[in-house]
């Protein structure tokens, strides 16, 4: 047996090795997409456009990346996809700052915080590098070439329209939101509420419950709401996890309740196909990626008239019935974009 002193040292060594390993693994993952044209000077149309998503591995941003690659191929430019592994401004900021050293011709950014990323954006702007925000936005939008975002209010409204029709405009409807105060969730709930109240006046709309995006919490909340309201006819889960939890509660109870959800991640799409989720709001991430690259190209070639800002994209409604229609399923998120 090791002496106490030795075993302490051993554990210390082992833990530092572990940390080192994790760090190496992290940095390896961040640099998945080394840019090919980074060293070449930007002459003519040989542009390198940096795309920094909210988090690299999420299906939504993999889908955006695929859209960006499609546009890049048409225009003959290079896309440099760099980002953090988690939705965290503290991790995204260093990625953005280090990109400045590679002098990309344009920056496409999904800010993970509406103000924390602004100083880094200013550094790009003062280096005369055009910046376009995609999907989420910045509070201070001055100097940005364009803003591209999906319309969360329209998405919530579209969910209300489809849900209201599915329940025949009668009964009680519940909302399971994510974290209180999240701006995208608030916009979705507002849009949902506005359309539901205007189009379906006979529906009783409950105040939102907050699942904090924990599936099990969303499930127990919907189970409780079913007990509290005999006439519960529909549930709107404003994000993937809330919708999954709601769907599970309804399916286990064998209740006749329509579930509407948001975002076509692999999990929610599986639930949509099996009929546990009936309605799904899908964001058009392919188009977000395409537009971002097209706008960057337009800015670099001086074709400012091609840019429409802010550009707000509408969402698509998928249902269990049309989930296998290629015109709908082409919008479902791609788990991993093959570059």
């Amino acid at each position: 047996m090791l002496k106490k002193h030795n075993s302490r040292t051993a554990i210390g060594l082992a833990s530092s090795a572990f940390v080192l390993l994790a760090t190496v693994a992290c940095s390896g993952a961040t640099a998945t997409e080394p840019s090919e044209g980074a060293d070449a000077p930007a002459t003519g149309e040989d542009f390198t456009i940096a795309l920094v998503p909210g988090m690299t591995t999420h299906p939504a941003y993999q889908t955006m990346y695929c859209g960006a690659l499609q546009a890049a191929e048409e225009l003959g430019v290079t896309v440099d996809f760099q980002g953090a592994n988690a939705w965290d401004p503290a991790q995204q900021l260093p990625v953005v700052q280090s990109l400045l050293a590679t002098s990309p011709d344009a920056l496409l950014l999904v800010p993970s915080d509406s103000s924390a990323l602004r100083p880094a954006v200013d550094q790009f702007l003062s280096a005369d590098i055009p910046v376009i925000t995609v999907d989420t936005g910045l509070e201070d939008t001055s100097g940005l070439t364009a803003e591209i975002m999906s319309d969360n209010e329209q998405g919530g409204g579209a969910a209300a329209q489809a849900l209201g029709e599915a329940i025949g405009g009668e009964g009680t409807v519940a909302i399971i939101s994510g974290v209180p105060g999240a701006t995208t969730d608030i916009a979705r709930v507002d849009g949902f509420r506005a359309v539901m109240e205007e189009q379906f006046p006979n529906v009783t709309l409950l105040e939102p419950e907050y699942s904090r995006s924990v599936v099990a919490t969303a499930e127990s909340q919907v189970q409780s709401l079913m007990l509290a309201h005999d006439d519960l006819a529909g549930v709107f889960g404003v994000n993937g996890n809330s919708a999954t939890g709601a769907a599970n509660a309804v399916a286990n109870a064998g209740a006749d309740i329509v579930v509407a959800g948001y975002d076509a991640e692999p999990g929610t799409v599986e639930q949509l196909r099996s009929g546990n989720i009936n309605i799904l709001v899908v964001q058009d991430f392919i188009q977000e990626g395409q537009l971002a690259v097209q706008y960057a190209y337009a800015a670099l070639t001086g074709d400012e008239s091609a840019i429409e800002t802010p550009r707000v994209l509408e969402n698509i409604i998928a249902t269990t019935e049309n989930a296998d229609d290629p015109e709908v399923s082409k919008y479902f998120y791609i788990p991993e974009c093959q570059a």
């Binding site: 106490k4 075993s7 302490r8 554990i11 210390g12 833990s15 994790a22 693994a25 992290c26 993952a29 988090m55 591995t57 999420h58 299906p59 592994n85 988690a86 939705w87 209180p180 105040e207 939102p208 419950e209 907050y210 904090r212 995006s213 924990v214 599936v215 099990a216 499930e219 127990s220 909340q221 189970q223 409780s224 709401l225 079913m226 007990l227 509290a228 993937g240 996890n241 999954t244 939890g245 599970n248 509660a249 286990n252 109870a253 991640e265 692999p266 999990g267 599986e270 788990p335």
Partner: protein
């Protein structure tokens, strides 16, 4: 507490003076005639306050049931029991840790991490054409292994590097969350064998699902282990007075390591049961669960100073939290008021327990 006396009485005859004064105090109390109120107080204090806690739970159930009669129903029980399982399993491990005078802030993250990694293994095996039951079994073993490993690392760093449990497990919370996101890409894991769903969701005998039965089984085993075995006695001894425990020859470090491994193992059990309920593993599943597990243990009478706590109390604590979570929605309480109510009741429960201890003359 009882263990402390037991231990001192057995092994440390030096402290006889203290024992004498204690006996005097006890004698004093027994001499005085009992009023009915005192008698009721003594009744509440039975089982280190567990009787009082069960009564509080019943009171909550009755009050919510009067406001919203639907709360007293089978459907409500199914929701409540399912909800309570996660917090209960995490809180049982947490209770052992808290009794030793430690704390485990990593249980939620370890639960999510072990569940997600186990799910990735199941998904890959299923995609590779493995038999579903083999895939599920390997996934289970992987999950339990990851959970125990996280506990082992916690325990070793705490005992060998002498870093406080708060810091070590806070670090583990971060490491487990990060590792989970590295492996899963931060996304929900789906594409698991559908047979998992029948484990998690089929009610046996109509009233109890597998996760609920497993939780009850774990609670019984842990309760017996804590109150009836040498393992439990040592857990109290380590938390009451670590120095004394060391002097009487208890392998304190090794015991602490085992307790953290147990907490990590139970976190993995909770995570696997969650995966079986949703046939998917979410990276968000552990959010805030470390605090819920601590709250359940503390409502259940565990002292953050160590040396005190019981599994029955913790189970009642978990049930109180689940009853509030489910019941307040059924009673139509607006969502922000629910969180306020849970906070107030947590503090009130602990205060009530302290009052009870003060008047019953026990030393806590």
């Amino acid at each position: 507490m009882s263990a402390k006396r037991l231990l001192m009485g057995r092994k440390q005859p030096v402290e006889t003076t203290m024992m004498t004064t204690l006996d005097d105090a006890e004698l004093d109390r027994t001499r005085r005639p009992r009023t009915p109120l005192q008698g009721f107080g003594a009744f509440l204090g039975k089982g280190d306050g567990d009787v009082a806690r069960v009564l509080v739970l019943l009171l909550i159930v009755v009050v919510i049931g009067l406001v919203a009669p639907n709360f007293i129903s089978k459907a409500s029980w199914m929701a409540l029991s399912q909800t309570a399982t996660v917090v209960a399993l995490l809180a049982i491990g947490q209770t052992f840790v808290i009794i030793t005078g430690g704390i485990d802030l990593s249980v939620g993250a370890v639960m999510a991490c072990s569940a997600v990694i186990g799910a990735v293994v199941m998904r890959e095996l299923a995609a590779g054409g493995a038999d579903p039951s083999i895939a599920i079994l390997v996934g289970l073993v992987t999950s339990l292994g990851i959970g125990s490993l996280a506990g082992l690392i916690n325990g070793l760093i705490i005992t060998k590097l002498r870093i406080t449990p708060f810091i070590v497990t806070l670090g583990m919370l971060s490491v487990a969350t990060g590792s989970m996101n590295l492996i899963s890409g931060g996304a929900e894991i789906v594409g698991l064998p559908p047979q998992l769903g029948s484990i998690g969701n089929t009610p046996l005998g109509g009233w109890f699902t597998v996760p609920v039965l497993v939780t009850i089984l774990v609670a019984v085993v842990a309760g017996v282990a804590l109150s009836q075995t040498r393992f439990g006695l040592r857990t109290f001894a380590v938390g009451s007075n670590q120095g004394a425990a060391r002097r009487v020859g208890i392998g304190v470090d090794w015991h602490i390591v085992r307790v953290y491994v147990f907490a990590g193992f139970l976190a993995a059990v909770a995570g696997f049961l969650l995966t079986s309920r949703f046939v998917s593993a979410s990276t968000m599943a552990g959010t805030g669960m470390e605090l819920s597990s601590i709250a359940a243990a503390v409502i259940g009478g565990a002292s953050l100073m160590g040396g005190r706590g019981s599994i029955l109390g913790t189970m009642v604590g978990a049930l109180i939290m689940a009853a509030l979570q489910i019941g307040l929605i059924i009673a139509g309480v607006a969502s922000f008021w629910q969180t306020i109510a849970i906070g107030i009741i947590t503090v009130a429960a602990v205060y009530g327990d302290q009052i009870r201890i003060k008047y019953s003359g026990e030393r806590s």
